[in-house]
């Protein structure tokens, strides 16, 4: 995942603000994976996650002129993606839909371009991936988003509070609750609880 220095980021955002698509493409390249995986963690369907990511970037391009602080582009982009996710939830009430398997679950490691390990290790790895995925899916949406941002995207509590638009105290409490939920789910699925 490419990282940008803050001055580079500000320069790119300002150039993209002027309508430069190449600059915007660079921003897209840097932030695509983070945004896509955030959406995928929330929405569970790969196709929908692609659509939402696409919508989020298109929105970002059209609304870029309204971004006051270019240094906060990433948080702003997360917020746009989050809004798109919640709009989708409202439209389809996807939260209550039973979860389907990700498409990648049906792919073999070779198809996914991953090296093949010892079959036992491979089985264990797959099992842990499945458990992690289920544990994440069992979290309520409100807890899931802060958990993904905190644990998987390694955002600070302050950054998360900025992205989700809730108080720091609320974010702290939700992260803690999400951790309790996740621990319980993992213990349940691993049969250690």
């Amino acid at each position: 995942m490419a990282e940008l220095h803050e001055t580079e980021l500000i320069s790119l955002v300002n150039t993209a603000k002027a309508g430069n698509r190449e600059a915007f493409h660079e921003l897209y390249t840097v932030f695509l994976q983070r945004i896509f995986n955030f959406v995928l963690g929330m929405i569970r369907s790969r196709e929908e996650a692609e659509d939402i990511t696409q919508d989020a970037f298109v929105q970002a391009f059209h609304k870029l002129a309204g971004l006051k602080d270019p240094a906060k582009f990433e948080h702003w982009l997360y917020r746009i993606a989050r809004n798109e996710i919640y709009q989708r939830f409202r439209r389809k009430k996807a939260e209550q839909v039973p979860l389907g398997d990700y498409e990648w679950q049906e792919l073999t490691p070779i198809e996914r371009g991953q090296p093949i390990h010892n079959p036992e290790d491979e089985f264990l790895r797959q099992e842990l991936e499945r458990v992690v995925k289920i544990a994440l899916e069992t979290l309520p949406t409100k807890l899931r988003e802060v958990f993904i941002l905190s644990v998987l995207h390694q955002k600070s509590y302050k950054e998360i509070s900025d992205i989700v638009g809730r108080s720091l105290l609320s974010v702290k409490t939700d992260i803690y609750r999400a951790r309790i939920f996740s621990k319980d789910a993992i213990k349940r699925y691993l049969g250690t609880g």
Binding site: F24, Q33, N37, E50, Q54, V132, L152, Y157, I186
Partner: protein, 183 residues
């Protein structure tokens, strides 16, 4: 220092917990707390290592670029005039309050005193009209009914008779007790 709660441990690990130095001193010397810290670290590591990060299909940028080429969808209807409905609503309420206040403060009609004086004058005029007996339609009628035999409430002189309460059926004093209550 007593053992911190699990939430304090999570805050200590992933956020700026208050009393961090004291907490750190305790955590270094408490095997139970170290075990709890390790539990939280393991949970984080499990998710970070086993949540598979994905990449979208290779043509996503082309799809996005295709949409960037077209202008954003034109805003129509209500939002043409009020792109921010909540702001518009708030502004309307403030404007309404301002207008109502202005009407109350800058009331330019006649003052209360002037209106009372006008009512008094009108009332006085009406009374004066009725004081003039020539205009009083009941005046002649009263004279016609002057005979005391026709009017049980008038004495022969045309004044109200001082009737005996005992014989006057309309006297309010009829039922009064006659007992001396001065004691």
């Amino acid at each position: 220092m007593p053992c911190p709660s699990q939430k304090q441990i999570v805050d200590f690990l992933y956020s700026g917990a208050p009393h961090r130095d004291k907490l750190q001193a305790h955590l270094q010397n408490c095997p139970l707390c170290q075990q709890r810290i390790q539990e939280e670290k393991d949970l984080t590591a499990l998710f970070r290592n086993h949540f598979r990060t994905e990449m979208p299909g290779p043509f996503l940028w082309q799809r996005i670029e295709g949409r960037l080429a077209t202008a954003p969808a034109p805003v129509t209807g209500f939002r043409t005039f009020f792109p921010r409905p909540l702001t518009a609503l708030a502004a309307s309420v403030i404007l309404l309050i301002f207008v109502c206040s202005a009407v109350l403060v800058l009331d330019t009609g006649p003052s209360r005193e002037a209106m009372l004086a006008a009512i008094d004058a009108q009332y006085g005029q009406t009374l004066a009209q009725f004081d003039d007996l020539d205009h009083n339609p009941f005046n002649g009628r009263l004279n016609q009914l002057g005979a005391s035999d026709q009017n049980p409430f008038l004495s022969a002189e045309g004044t109200e008779e001082e009737s005996d309460p005992a014989t006057n059926p309309f006297s309010p004093f009829k039922a009064m007790p006659t007992k001396d209550i001065r004691r």
